[in-house]
Amino acid sequence: MTLSQPVSPLAQVRYILSENYVTFGAFLLFFVMVIFALLGDAIAPYDPLASNASIALSPPSLAHWFGTDDLGRDVLSRVLVATRLDLGIAVVAVVLSFALGSILGTCSGYFGGWCDRIISRIIDTLMAFPLFILAMGLVAALGNTVENIIYATAVINLPLYTRVVRAEILVRRDAGYVEAARLAGNGHLRIMAAHLFPNVLPVMMVHISLNMGWAILNAAGLSFIGLGVRPPTPEWGIMVAEGATYIISGEWWLAIFPGAVLMLAVFCFNLLGDGLRDLIDPRMRT
């Protein structure tokens, strides 16, 4: 195949996927999760909040694939419906920290000097905390609500985005095309937003994907210790926490199913991130 030969985008996607079965699998899983997040309450076989004491704590069966919990609620339905909340928290948190981190990192890398020093100092201070514990402290200070879980998750992810964007902008700041854009009369804002930042995006995609998994883990961890989401709202972390009491007496399905789905979701984002990295920048691989 010569270089001049045009390759249709579809063929290219097919070629890339045929080389990356694992990434393809992760992508399918991601797709399924998005469907569950969007249509969870329509797909769920039972009402996730409807309790029925007569079938409480029944093990997985044909009627209830994942069994029922201590109030007789269907675990499968609860796990399905929880997808929206869990993914939602993570997506909003990642979007927030990506947006703010990009602005801070771009300014820091582009202007350098005092701007860089102040921003780097703030980020270093955040990094001086064990991040999950900072999130706990933030939620304790701001108040125990779902919104504050999102803000706390966003804050603890902020250092990652700011640092990566700053480093990427720093190496491109003096590139020829930036110089050309400047000579052509573009202002700082336009150079940063239209010339520099788009070049950083591919690398950021990898980080967003890897970070999504971590954000889900953090949010679920916070609700596992009783922060944010309140019962009876279905959410993976809180479901594992509620099921933890029953695992000692052998009712494993209460905690294991939501935990396994949570793990699968995180695993999926990590695999996607790994796959994206191999496609975008194989040198980042370790």
């Binding site: 955040l126 933030l138 200070a141 961890g221 594992v240 494993w252 990590n270």
Partner: protein, 342 residues
């Protein structure tokens, strides 16, 4: 230019950690004052009278300006005063101090477990690239970072306590039948060994096993990954080729030449790993009813016991700064060049 002595490097590192400590103190101060509504009312608790609230406002200095309040806050910190816990009725400092050894023992055991597995696995994977062990380590590395710690813990309890019955009930550091060993270091394993009480040692080890493995599995993935990558890049460098060409024994090359150089990135990663470990500690302590500062903070959070939570956050942050400082120093010991450039 003469090479700076190790002592001056150590001193410089310690001074370098001061801004982080200041930053940590400022952030915890802001967190205390950012409480929604009236912080004095929160610190006094729900049952407090108006006079009690006014009195707390006076003692906390909440009627003064922010910079003044900050100076008072720092003064209290220097005197080791973090306020009183509402739930236990003790000072937060004494609560934290009695519970800290339990957390430290758990974290250290988890770290030892993950290092003893991660280093050999990483080295094996690097010396046999493309083999099944290499692929295994890669799968493990991705799977390991995806594991929610609280979920792994429960899974281990289910398998080893409920199904196999080999692990003791996941309820704290020592079963009720045993009395804790005399307090020397606060670490049950060390104390029971020092006092020669082997039975208590075995019991404490049994209790510690599952939580430590849970914690260790979480830290295993990044460590194995970095060890593998670092060993691979060192093994392909020129000085290893020269050492091989000179006919040195393979294990001399592997451990004497390659491993010591590969340790540097591993030690750097330890900093990040500690951040994870200290956070995961909280979750593991909750799962195993471990009486450390993590479970203390969780119950304080649920009870809106703010002084205790702030004390916990500050303690953990300072612990993390100290650990990072130790890592920096370890770095200087492993590689004397590291201290020279900065």
């Amino acid at each position: 230019m003469s090479r700076p002595s190790t002592l001056s490097i150590v001193i410089r590192r310690i001074i370098g950690a001061l801004p982080s400590i200041l930053g940590v103190i400022i952030v915890t101060f802001v967190l205390t004052r950012a409480l929604p509504g009236d912080p004095a009312a929160y610190f006094a608790g729900p049952a407090a009278s108006q006079e009690a609230i006014d009195q707390i406002r006076e003692t906390l200095g909440l009627n003064r300006s922010l910079p003044e309040q900050f100076i008072i806050y720092v003064g209290e910190l220097l005197r080791g005063d973090l306020g009183n816990s509402l739930t236990t009725g003790q000072t937060v400092v004494s609560d934290l101090l009695t519970r800290l050894p339990a957390s430290l023992e758990l974290t250290l055991a988890g770290l030892v477990f993950s290092l003893t597995l991660a280093l050999p696995l990483g080295i094996l994977a690097a010396t046999r690239p493309g083999s099944w062990i290499d692929h295994g380590v890669r799968v493990l590395a991705t799977a390991g970072v995806s594991l929610p710690t609280f979920f792994t813990g429960l899974l281990l309890i289910y398998v080893f306590y409920f199904l196999l019955g080999v692990a003791p009930a996941p309820l704290g550091r020592l079963a009720i039948l045993y009395s804790p060993p005399d307090q020397l270091t606060g670490l049950f394993l060390v104390d029971s060994l020092l006092t020669g009480d082997l039975e208590t040692f075995r019991a404490a080890l049994g209790q510690l096993m599952l939580p430590a493995i849970t914690l260790g599995l979480f830290a295993l993935a990044p460590l194995a990954r970095v060890t593998r990558a670092a060993m691979l890049s060192v093994l392909s460098s020129d000085f290893i080729r020269t050492a091989r060409a000179s006919g040195l024994a393979p294990h001399t090359i592997l451990f004497g030449y390659a491993f010591r150089n590969a340790l540097l990135p591993v030690v750097t990663t330890l900093g990040v790993v500690f951040s994870f470990l200290l956070g995961a500690n909280v979750l593991v302590e909750k799962v195993f009813a471990w009486p450390g500062i993590g479970s203390y903070a969780v119950s304080a959070l649920i009870a809106s016991d703010y002084a205790a939570v702030q004390g916990f956050v500050l303690t953990m942050a300072l612990l993390y700064v100290v650990l990072n400082l130790l890592i920096d120093l370890l770095y200087t010991v492993i590689d004397p060049r590291a201290g020279v450039e900065s």
